[in-house]
């Protein structure tokens, strides 16, 4: 039983990271209807940025804040320069552009930093607390806490500030929002900036466990796709809860299903994506897509 609880807690910790990246996907999907296939690679690039700042001799805290701020600006620039020209076009065009961005960012990182993997310093303290035979590492607790704080801040931003209201209005009705003086373009840029920031946060939290290389976020992106699909692509609540479910399902399946073991856990999110899309395409908390025939 202690082992089971341990696995669930580990699953929630790793699931929080999937949830953070899934939140980034949801943030962009809600405002633009785009599933950003490049989200993971953008996060990888941000993480490399943080690593490079640490290598340059900056303290870890300063490097992280710098990388997150740069990611926010980078996300805004990507929206304005690369995404804006194709915004509102058909899914295939947008998909190809985000895939192009995926390949471009991945290769640029390889060009700049090479293809070797590297260790990444832990931002969260080592050590762990033992409660009733369960090992609660401070890192796991810290990751969950960071996610909860982020969710709280996002809630405050969207519900309690004028900017958040403008962003919701622009997402809900991009045609009418400009009539009340909202710049839809500006809110979209901020949305992409926030998403890039969230992705960067997921990247720096998961990098110490996975090692840093140009492909390290690829797997995380798949888990986050599964989390967002399960939770519903337009539901922030769904992204977080979906992330936890995916994380727990991953650790449990890896331990208790012999066929999956430790090297086939990637099948868990893939099967979940497949089943959810076929059985309940809007996910647990998503709203159904309504199309006028």
């Amino acid at each position: 039983m202690a082992q089971f609880i341990q696995l669930v807690i580990d699953g929630i910790a790793i699931g929080s990271i999937y949830g953070a990246l899934a939140l980034a996907l949801v943030l962009i999907f809600r405002s633009t209807g785009i599933v950003n296939f490049a989200q993971g690679e953008m996060a990888m690039f941000s993480t490399f940025g943080a690593w490079a700042l640490v290598q340059a001799g900056l303290p870890l805290g300063v490097a992280l804040v710098g990388a997150l701020a740069a990611s926010f600006i980078g996300g805004m620039v990507i929206e304005r320069v690369i995404i804006r020209p194709v915004e509102g076009q058909d899914p295939l065009t947008i998909l190809i552009v985000t895939l192009g961005l995926f390949i471009l960012v991945n290769s640029l990182a390889g060009w700049i930093w090479g293809f070797n993997n590297r260790g990444f310093p832990r931002a969260l303290p080592d050590g762990s607390a033992h409660v009733a035979g369960v090992n609660l590492s401070y890192e796991s607790l810290g990751i969950v806490a960071v996610l909860l704080v982020v969710v709280g801040l996002l809630y405050l931003l969207f519900q309690k500030t004028k900017l958040g209201l403008a962003m919701r209005a622009a997402a809900a009705n991009p045609e009418s929002a400009p009539l009340v003086g909202i710049s839809v373009g500006r809110t979209l840029m901020i949305g992409w900036g926030l998403a890039a920031l969230l992705g960067a946060l997921a990247g720096v939290l998961v990098a110490p466990q996975l090692f840093l290389d140009v492909n390290f976020m690829g797997g995380v992106l798949v888990y986050s796709f599964a989390a967002a699909t399960l939770g519903g692509f337009d539901s922030p609540k769904g992204a977080v809860i979906g992330g936890w479910i995916i994380g727990v399902a991953e650790t449990l399946a890896g331990e208790y299903i012999d066929f999956i073991g430790s090297d086939l856990t990637i099948l868990v999110p893939l099967v979940i994506i497949f089943v959810v899309l076929l059985v309940r395409p809007n996910g647990l908390f998503g709203s159904p897509e309504v199309v006028r025939a």
Binding site: P85, G100, V222, L277
Partner: protein, 346 residues
């Protein structure tokens, strides 16, 4: 001039000349270059299959690397376990992938756009992982080594030339068949379905049948290409079938031109030779070029290489024959709608 090009006889003469060039090519290059050209032909088959699905029927697949992989392993396992002649593995792989494509096409009926992209992406990631898992049959991460077909003794061909001709003999009927599919009613039904599902249904297109068939056919093309890949390489391993392959195929259809048949050849040239030419400078450069080209295509060259060629042709014949220009313009609109798969919703 333009009348000449559109007359069926001129087309036939042009195609015969093209075929003659294709037959002559391996006698003018060294073995290394010939093996690259063989790879172009093999990729062109897979790219053409993907274009039938994405360009013509408007269903997005990020998973064609998986069908390519299944085809390659079908061929490799048959050659490994049985005494089957090499050439028979090609139709066998085509049949297996046709069935696999139909099987995926059924759930795909319920999904469109980005969701279909997600599911096919999942397939592309899962396939090499599963191949590694069933290592009794597939050799796991070690892969399988297979014999390459020997050239018939009467021909006097070198190994690389023989492989080139096998790929060419496979590619020609595949292109011929695809041309037939897209020109006849079935192709028009696919395009109608892509541009407006409701309208096409009113016109009597059975969506379920056409969508699943398009998936099956497209997968069969990828599978046949996979089987050819196996004995062109003499070796298969899961590492050859990462997500990069699926991405490269998608890049190739965009660069060659969505909803074109001949574009597959240009696309295949791009994905074979760009990595070769850029690897001297930097390992990562080909990815930078892929990514930038994909984005640029969506901004500027919506029709890819074929679109540019058609525009150039329309421009050069401008004013001489207004009807011809109008016809080319219509073809141009078709391409735009190809890029705009599923775009008509209201």
């Amino acid at each position: 001039m333009s009348g000449l090009l559109t007359s069926p006889w001129a087309r036939r003469v042009g195609l015969a000349a093209l075929l003659a060039v294709a037959i002559a090519l391996p006698f003018f290059f060294g073995p290394y270059r010939v093996s690259q050209l063989t790879l172009v032909l093999i990729y062109a088959i897979a790219v053409l299959g993907l274009n039938l699905l994405v360009g013509y029927s408007g269903q997005i697949s990020l998973g064609h690397g998986a069908f390519f992989c299944i085809g390659a392993y079908t061929g490799a396992i048959l050659l490994d376990r049985t005494a089957i002649p090499h050439l028979l593995t090609v139709p066998a792989a085509g049949l297996v992938c046709f069935a696999a494509g139909l099987a995926l096409g059924l759930p795909a009926l319920r999904l469109r756009g980005l969701y279909l992209a997600l599911v096919t992406l999942a397939l592309a990631i899962a396939t090499p992982v599963l191949i590694k898992r069933f290592d009794g049959l597939t050799g796991g991460s070690q892969g399988l080594t297979v014999d390459q077909p020997a050239p018939p003794s009467w021909s006097g061909l070198a190994d690389d030339q023989n492989l080139y001709f096998i790929a060419l003999i496979a590619a020609v009927p595949m292109f011929w068949f695809a041309t037939g599919v897209v020109r006849r009613g079935s192709g028009r039904a696919l395009i109608a379905m892509r541009d407006n599902e409701t309208a096409s249904r009113t016109m009597g297109v059975n969506l379920a049948t056409f969508k699943t068939r398009a998936f099956g056919l497209s997968a069969a093309y990828a599978g046949i290409a996979g089987a050819l890949f196996t004995f062109a390489n003499g070796f298969v391993a899961p590492e050859s079938f990462t997500l990069t392959v699926s991405f490269a195929f998608l890049a190739a259809i965009v660069i060659g031109g969505l909803a074109t048949v001949a574009g597959a050849v240009f696309g295949a040239f791009f994905i074979v030779f760009v990595p070769v030419w850029t690897s001297d400078i930097d390992e990562a450069l080909s990815g930078v070029i892929y990514g930038a080209t994909l984005i640029a295509c969506m901004y500027v060259f919506r029709g890819g290489v074929m679109g540019v060629l058609r525009s150039a042709w329309a421009w050069s014949t401008k004013g001489r024959n207004e009807d011809e220009v109008a016809e080319v313009a219509v073809a141009g609109d078709g391409r735009r709608a190809g890029a705009g798969a599923g775009g008509v919703r209201s």
